[in-house]
């Protein structure tokens, strides 16, 4: 019984959140339109959090993802102002993400700086670069090609609700593609298994012949590029770019991975669990807004719920809530 609580307590908690809003916001919360809406709102966070999972399975962090997201948006927007085509500007922004990830990987894996310290330093560097490139300004209006801003507003029409079309947002599709890719990499390849092995015991993995240094370095490429993708999605959504707009993604992404970890059997990060964590955070924002809960109370509540979920999970694992495993 207690084993069941441990195994499914997190899922039950998440369903309870959904049920709570279904009861309190009866007319709109469980509609398809609202869930499509939520899927679009969490798409950027889903991309960053899925990529964050890749480094967190090794027990590492990447604190620079938020400022990298800001930087990639600013890079693309600045290139737009210099009449670069959309594909060229986006490629350049993604290349910046790759480079940023590479720097993080080299610092953590080759140089051997703690991820917390290394990525805290690059957080500052990427953020400073975003300010430098944009001159601290928001780039918007005619500088941004209409097609770039329209991407985030569009998507295939999947049906009608009353007289209004139901659209499956493009951003949702991008997020689903990224999550699927990360799932394949982590769950279905030797590469992914080895990352988990490093997280379990990096020394044992090394002795077993796993090239720990290179794998660890390469994992940071995922967070770098993932952050750049999310930054571009954000820039498309607001049809503009400023040097701080992605910053909030970092802490929320880490919170989502931790929330997800409460769902897995062994308490390890997993990309689908992370996605569930992202959904819960998105649902909380959406539901509490519709319930007219004050913005600041909303923030306190979201933090408290994360603490409660992770706290219960930790107590469960230590056997306080049941048999010692």
């Amino acid at each position: 019984m207690t084993g069941l609580v441990r195994r499914f307590g997190g899922i039950a908690g998440m369903l309870a959140v959904v049920l709570f809003f279904a009861i309190n916001v009866p007319d709109t919360f469980l509609t398809l339109r609202n869930w499509l809406n939520i899927s679009q709102q969490i798409s950027m966070l889903a991309v960053v959090a899925a990529c964050m999972t890749v480094v967190m399975v090794m027990g590492d962090f990447d604190l620079s993802v938020g400022s990298m997201a800001s930087l990639s948006g600013v890079v693309a927007a600045t290139l737009f102002t210099q009449d670069w085509s959309i594909p060229a500007a986006l490629s350049a922004a993604l290349a910046v993400g790759l480079l940023g990830g590479l720097i993080n990987g080299v610092m953590v894996s080759l140089v051997g700086i703690l991820p917390f310290v290394a990525t805290l330093a690059t957080l500052t560097i990427y953020s400073g670069a975003a300010f430098l490139i944009s001159d601290g300004r928001t780039i918007f209006g005619r500088d941004i090609p209409a097609a770039f801003g329209d991407f985030a507003r569009g998507g295939p029409v999947i049906g009608m609700a009353g007289e209004r079309a139901l659209v499956l947002p493009n951003l949702t599709l991008v997020a689903l593609a990224v999550v699927a890719l990360i799932w394949l990499v982590l769950e279905q390849t030797t590469y992914g298994r080895r990352l988990y092995a490093i997280g379990g015991n990096s020394e044992a993995a090394r002795l077993a012949g796993v090239p720990v240094t290179w794998l660890r370095l390469s994992a940071f490429l995922f967070t770098g590029v993932g952050a750049a993708v999310a930054g571009l999605m954000y820039a498309s959504r607001v049809a503009s770019a400023n040097p701080t707009q992605g910053d909030a993604l970092m802490l929320t992404a880490i919170a989502a991975v931790f929330l997800g970890m409460t769902l897995t059997r062994d308490g390890q990060p997993g990309v689908l669990a992370t996605l569930a964590g992202v959904v819960v955070l998105g649902v909380l924002d959406n539901g509490l807004t519709q319930m007219r809960v004050d913005s600041y109370v909303r923030e306190v509540l979201v933090g408290a719920i994360i603490l409660a979920a992770v706290g219960f999970s930790a107590l469960g694992r230590r056997g306080v809530l049941g048999r010692r495993p």
Binding site: V25, Q40, F140, R153, V238, A239
Partner: protein, 305 residues
């Protein structure tokens, strides 16, 4: 539609509104932590209370993308109107969602956009006219005037145009220099340096009658330069625009900095509420920009509020 059917529809609407639950308006801003925004919201909620509305004030703490998300949320929730206090150019996706659902969006000093039913703000042309005319009157329509303008920023450029026109209308007023200060450091330091150069080039007492600045920072910089040069006693008249706290202090001291113009933030909030009311009552707004009067601040009224 005849006048009679309009009347009937209006009466029906009033009946429905009276009988149904309170109307609900969402106010969404990333900038609630900024003092000006709080005044807007105070003015809005006070007026909304009189109308009996339920008001949901949502602050996204600087996150413009989240403004779009929250607009989508309250659109799904089915609010009666949405008020925004953010550049509409950056939240087009949210405005499109609200428009699609037929929910009116009103800007509270937000900016103009085809999807914003009306934007309530201060009239920059009128603000510039207030101080330019003050300068012209104070110097008796004659003398050399130094202008500080900033044409790259459209709202400030508009102020400069008006001052040009007013000074041009006085044959004995000569614009000595039209300076565009470097604003990367906030605008005070470079304005001071530029003013020092003008003072050095015009050493004769009385050779500069006034300094007209398109916003407060250059006016404060010019004041520093004039005082540092020991020429505070020449009666050079300085005016700014915005009436920020530093400018109010300078005006209250009774020195060269004589006047600035204050926006009525609380008034913008309450007029926004009235504008929402007109939309909810079914009125078709002809004016897409609604101006709230501003107030000339001088030593006579600087302590009044």
């Amino acid at each position: 539609m005849t006048a009679r059917t309009i009347f009937t529809a209006g009466a029906l609407a009033a009946l429905v509104a009276g009988g149904a639950a309170a109307q609900e308006v969402a106010v969404i801003t990333p900038y609630l932590a900024q003092p000006g925004t709080q005044f807007y919201v105070d003015g809005f909620t006070a007026a909304a209370e009189n109308f009996g509305w339920t008001v949901n004030v949502i602050d996204t703490a600087g996150d413009v993308g989240a403004v779009i998300s929250r607009i989508e949320d309250v659109t799904i929730q089915g609010v009666d109107a949405i008020v925004i206090n953010v550049d509409p150019a950056q939240i087009g996706a949210g405005l499109a969602t609200a428009a699609d659902a037929g929910i009116p969006v009103v800007g509270m000093d937000a900016g103009s956009d085809p999807l914003v039913a009306a934007n309530v703000t201060s009239n920059g042309y009128a603000m510039a006219a207030e101080t330019a005319v003050y300068v012209a009157d104070r110097i008796g329509g004659a003398g050399n005037v130094v202008m500080f303008t900033f044409d790259p920023f459209p709202p400030v450029q508009a102020r400069g145009v008006i001052a040009d026109a007013i000074f041009g209308n006085f044959p004995d007023i000569e614009v000595l220099d039209r300076i565009t200060p470097d604003v990367s450091d906030g605008g005070i330091a470079d304005s001071r340096a530029q003013m020092e150069a003008v003072l050095a080039a015009n050493p004769e007492p009385g050779s500069i009658a006034a300094v007209w600045a398109a916003w407060d920072q250059p006016a404060l910089g010019a004041l520093q330069a004039i005082e540092a040069a020991g020429r505070g006693g020449e009666g050079i008249v300085i005016t700014g625009i915005d009436a920020n706290p530093q400018a109010r202090d300078a005006i209250a001291q009774g020195g060269n900095f004589e006047a600035s113009v204050a926006q009525d933030f609380v008034g913008i909030g309450s007029v926004t509420a009235e504008t929402v009311k007109r939309l909810l009552d079914g009125e078709e707004l002809r004016q897409k920009v609604i101006y709230v009067p501003t107030e000339l601040i001088t030593a006579a009224n600087v302590g009044a509020d």
